[in-house]
């Protein structure tokens, strides 16, 4: 009897399971038909407005920073929502995605058919993987068909950024590249007050830099007093390829051909470029000399331990984004350092890693930034394109970057705009609201002169000369990346993340290796990286380059 009932229950559950499945099935196919059948022309707009209110969902990064506001609901999102409703009759909703696990999060949202209509990510290979699964809308039609309705987008991004990722053969366009307003990338920073105390000049070569680190180490008592044991002359994070980028780039051949740079260039941390090994060998030497932070590999992405040490004043030098010490207003490294150590304590930017020509070549990527794409579930491609257009309007970018006058900025006599530290509601979750200006990264006002005048004033409480110095250094000896568009590289599909974590493992283990073991550990690590897909990518890149450009090794 009991068995009977059990079996009835089980049967019921089977039926239930079947119906549950078939219902998701129909849902899936419905989504698809509406996705592909959506080829309405722009004529449904009257004065740029929809007759009926449309609704779109837009992704926004959640950085979870202290003192920040809800990234989906604050005075800046209100500004966007209001503007979009007034200008285009489109209702905008934001969906927060954690900044440091964005790829996983978007994967889940896509798989659940719950992805925002406008998605943003830094990883193009991820988008390509989605696209190959049929999960992404082809934007090539939309940017052309709606061109007249998208003047700001076309003005700001231009042909080169809009078509940056277009497949040269099939003409498909899976993503639009946002634009970098400034190409400043990574610089090395050093404690000016420590140099002064030790009566040293800022280093201009690797040898001088090493001397300086040794001086920091040997004078820990003088510089840190009771905290001498916490001295860290030079600090990197687990992401060595990024956090020692200027050092690594100084070991690359500044005259390397475009082809070589491209073929070895899948990894943006330059693991497989010629010369990187020597750079890491130097780091390894410094590590074994006690010049670096021993715990760096134990803290993962997004961890704030290292920042806290910089804020507390234990770190002598580090390499990071060109404006890193000044980011986040009152909570910036520089503001904390002033509060905790003293008025004169500060980091200044230096150029100290000379390359084989004696210059400071910096390999900066092309003027591209985040990639915007529409998942297949997007039923409002026009409204979404209008959103991109709206957010690319110079006036709107400017407002989002500087906020209200008297609250988050003041205007100087010469028209320059000085950013003020914001409080309460007006605090921006990301520097200059970069997370909302998804087509633009970097200070950009409607008037270019004002932009240049304002640059130094964009960081409240920071000596404008320090900012200008950093900006200038970040623009010395640039080698700007070119768009090598030879079509999708099949070997890169779905492997980016695996290779990135392998790369970090190679870098980290090589830095902490015993000096005698360094060669073996590096070579084994790189061999493993290559065997796990790295070599296939390089081979395919070379093959596609040869097919597209023949014998040429330089791009125009």
């Amino acid at each position: 009897m009991k068995k009977k009932i059990l079996s009835i229950l089980l049967a019921c559950s089977m039926v239930f399971a079947m119906t549950a499945c078939s219902s998701t099935e129909t849902q899936g196919s419905a989504d698809k038909s509406s996705g592909s059948g959506d080829k309405k022309s722009a004529s449904e707009l009257v004065d740029g407005k929809f007759a009926e209110t449309r609704k779109i969902v837009v992704e926004v990064y959640d950085r979870g920073n202290d003192g920040g506001s809800d990234p989906t609901n604050n005075m800046y999102t209100e500004y966007i929502k209001k503007g979009m409703l007034e200008d285009h009759n489109v209702e905008v909703e934001f969906k927060a995605v954690p900044r440091w696990t964005e790829v996983e999060e978007i994967n889940n949202l896509l798989a659940a058919s719950d992805a925002p209509d406008v998605c943003v990510t830094y990883s193009y290979p991820t988008i390509l993987t989605y696209a190959q699964m049929g999960g992404v809308l082809d934007l090539s039609q939309y940017v052309e068909d709606y061109k007249d309705d998208l003047p700001n987008l076309w003005n700001w991004l231009g042909e080169s950024n809009i078509y940056w990722d277009q497949d040269p053969d099939k003409g498909t366009l899976w993503a639009i590249e946002a634009k970098l307003a400034v190409s400043n990338r990574v610089l090395t920073f050093v404690r000016q007050d420590w140099l002064d105390k030790l009566e040293m000049k800022a280093p201009t070569t690797k040898a001088e830099f090493e001397e300086m680190l040794i001086a920091f180490r040997d004078n820990a008592e003088l510089l840190l007093g009771a905290d001498a044991s916490k001295m860290i002359p030079y600090s990197v994070s687990y992401d060595v390829g990024w956090r020692a980028a200027t050092l690594i780039e100084s070991f690359l051949d500044p005259d390397m051909s475009d082809k070589e740079f491209y073929v070895n260039g899948f990894d943006d941390r330059k693991l497989t470029q010629n010369g990187t090994k020597e750079a890491v060998k130097l780091l390894n030497k410094w590590y074994n000399m006690g010049l670096m932070w021993n715990d760096f590999a134990l803290y993962g992405s997004g961890d704030t331990t290292e920042d806290s040490m910089m804020k507390a004043g234990y770190v002598g030098a580090f390499t990071h984004n060109w404006d890193y010490p000044w980011r986040n207003g009152e909570d910036s490294i520089s503001a904390n350092l002033k509060r905790q150590v003293g008025e004169d304590a500060k980091y200044v930017a230096i150029d100290c890693f000379e390359d084989s020509k004696g210059t400071y070549t910096k390999f900066v990527p092309g003027p591209i930034d985040r990639k915007v794409f529409f998942p297949i579930t997007n039923k409002e491609p026009l409204a979404s394109m209008l959103y991109l257009d709206w957010i690319s309007d110079p006036e709107h970018i400017q407002y989002l970057q500087i906020g209200d006058e008297g609250v988050t900025h003041t205007v100087e006599a010469n028209g320059a705009i000085a950013t003020q530290a914001a409080t309460g509601e007006a605090i921006m979750n990301s520097g200059m609201n970069i997370d909302y200006t998804i087509t633009c990264n970097g200070l950009k006002f409607a008037d270019e002169n004002i932009t240049n005048l304002s640059r130094a004033l964009a960081y409240p409480g920071v000596d404008p000369d320090d900012v200008i110095n950093a900006h200038n250094l970040a623009n010395t000896d640039l080698r700007v990346g070119k768009n090598v568009n030879v079509g999708a590289i099949a070997a890169e599909e779905g492997i980016g993340d695996t290779l990135s974590s392998k790369r970090d493992i190679v870098y980290d283990n090589a830095v902490v290796a015993k000096e005698a073991d360094f060669d073996k550990i590096w070579d084994d690590g790189v061999a493993d990286y290559l065997a796990s897909g790295g070599q296939a990518i390089m081979d395919e890149r070379e093959e596609k380059w040869n097919a597209a450009f023949g014998d040429a090794t330089q791009l125009p």
């Binding site: 099935e25 916490k230 134990l298």
Partner: protein, 315 residues
Amino acid sequence: MKKQKTTVSQRKMPFGVYFKRYWQLYALLLLPLTYLLVFKYIPMLYIQIAFKKYSIVESIWKLPLAANYGFEYFIKAFNSKDFLYALRNTLSLNLLDLVLGFPAPIIFALILNEICFKRFKRVVQTIAYMPHFLSWVIVYSLALQLFAPDAGLINMLIRDMGGETIPFLNEPAHWVGTYIGLGVWQSFGWNSIVYLAAIAGINPELYEAASVDGAGRFKKMWHVTLPGLKPTIIVLLIMNLGNILGSGFDRPFAFQNNLVMRVAEVISTYVYKVGIKGLQFSLTTAVGLFQSVVGVIFLLFANWLARKLGERGIW
């Protein structure tokens, strides 16, 4: 009591009467059953992803079969060095856990049982349970504060006393020790509860009889308490063996870092990294399926062995 009644009624009562009388009991069963269905059985339909070429947007029923009669991803997994490493690490970490972690609560229960001073016993017990309620992320944060090479308290002490820094967390062999040690520390108190309960169920007359026969403390422990615990130990051992290829996700994930990855990557974290982050859902479903199948085989084998040796097994 409930069990007795139903067995009696099974023979006599017609279905209608029986159900009318006991439907509440089945109603009580409904919720847990739904839970199992929704979270354990329905997801099993998606096992087919392992044999198909997955797409994030297609319905799973319409996916095309993978190459090699659907076994493409199994072949791929076993050709992948990373998977084999993960498999090796999972096995060795779990075996170490079993060898060191399994006897710990038994020994602890035995020792605790010998304490006569009740209040002290309770305090010790509570302190030993406590780590169980900490999540692994918290345990790892504590470990970082204590064991990190530069900033860790223990290493600071060692250095102050003139010793060398011990790489508890950043050197593979030491890391395994820390990982297993903290695992045992976190769980032995909690796991001892079952054994303490079993000990409480042992007939006191046996102890009296042993005393009369002149047995001392250790003799009693050996000849009375341990045999009394034997069925419990065997059931738990079988369940642990079923989990030999499985492992929680949060413990290894929280403890991993790039310097120890070659011993720290286990199947669950591999699946997360390659599947969820790297979007290779088919590959990792195949890995997960393999893991489950091996788990079931171990479970069946252990159970068979237990019965063979004259014990009760778990079914």
